[in-house]
Amino acid sequence: MDFRFDIILDYVPLLLKGTLWTIGISILSICFGSVLGLAVGLGKMSHRGYLRWPTSIYVNFFRGTPLLVQILLVHFGVVPLFLGSTNPIIASIVALSLNSAGYMAEIFRAGIQSIDKGQTEAAHSLGMTHFQTMKSVILPQAIKRMIPPFGNEFIVLIKDSSLFAIIAAPELMYWSNAMRSQYFKVWEPYLTAALIYFILTYSLSKLLGYIERRV
């Protein structure tokens, strides 16, 4: 096999630009996804049917269908509805946020339910309200337990963002595809992409391991 390093070198600036987009899209999505996921997760744990039902459906839908399909629905359906036109970057962030919220909701739920019921009871016995208990007692503890699954979700999200190449969001995979179609080559673009993704996810997992030990 004639592996052409020259075309990789040619594309390095664009691949790096794409990597920055990948990182940016992922960070924004995990932020929005976490906020939305917390709301959905709390809704799913609620005693009230009118909160529990729709949030359950939300989680089932976003966890139960391929991201690919969700991307197409957001890109061609949701974004044009609000903006009047398509926009691959906004669609990427919206789709990935909605999708990861489904997973984050379950992470929040599991994290909260992993806290000993005694903590809640102790807070209640002191006269604290449900909201005060959640805010000052449960969430601070739950969030610490959520770091590992949260980290996994972030890693998944970075890899999933590669799917946005199909709606031409200018992230890492998009430029790999451009390289492929210019030179009719598969290995050079995709092995390079794999390496970059690996560096991203591996450093992230090391970072998270470090945070986990520190907290």
Partner: protein, 244 residues
Amino acid sequence: GCGSKDSGGTKVKFATDAAYAPMEYMDKDKVAGFDIDFLAEVMKEAGLAYSITNTGWDTMLTSVQQGKEYQAGISSVSITDERKQTYDYTAPYFESTNMILVKEGSPIKTAVDLKDKKVAVQISTTADTLMTKIMGADNKSLKRMDNNTLALMELESNGVDAVVADIAIIREYVKNNPNKKFVSISDSKNFESEYYGILLPKGSDLKAKLDPAIKKVIENGTYATVYKKWFGQEPDTKKLLDQK
């Protein structure tokens, strides 16, 4: 790049799927290719400001159909009756035919020989449509790959006996891989000529502006210059102009 909000202004916004070298592809971060150069000449002739964005295939199809964000698409789209139900086209601007690519020493000589062989095509292309007709929609030996690069890799790795793709693609590939011992076969009997047109939403008023410009560019020799730049030979402009 990303599109701007204002679609009703002066600029005509074109969408393309720049993954089809040499017709249209990304040369680093710029869209390049025959279609792109040709479009530049046409828009100059028509006196219209325009921009072109790489949106990918699906986005192009959907958004041109709506006609709101992108008013036209140029991406080696063959004019077929099926597609005419959903879209309008400008006058044809390019004659293409599908070609077969096989390894040296292959017994395959014509398209009919492909019937019981394994064949790779790019999904959604006219090559896909043609081979679906010859081999049947649910034939497992017909591998509809995501893109032509994968189809050609499939041939290299002995996954298929032949690849069918647009002549420009096959030529570009052979040019890029001179030492790989591939043979390209044209079969004008089974693979009729097809014509590319610019994709427009149904009832678009752009057709009235673009058609004369396309005619002019072909007639005044500009077309031939661009064609030669990309394919190194003279186009058959008479045949193109005769098409309706």
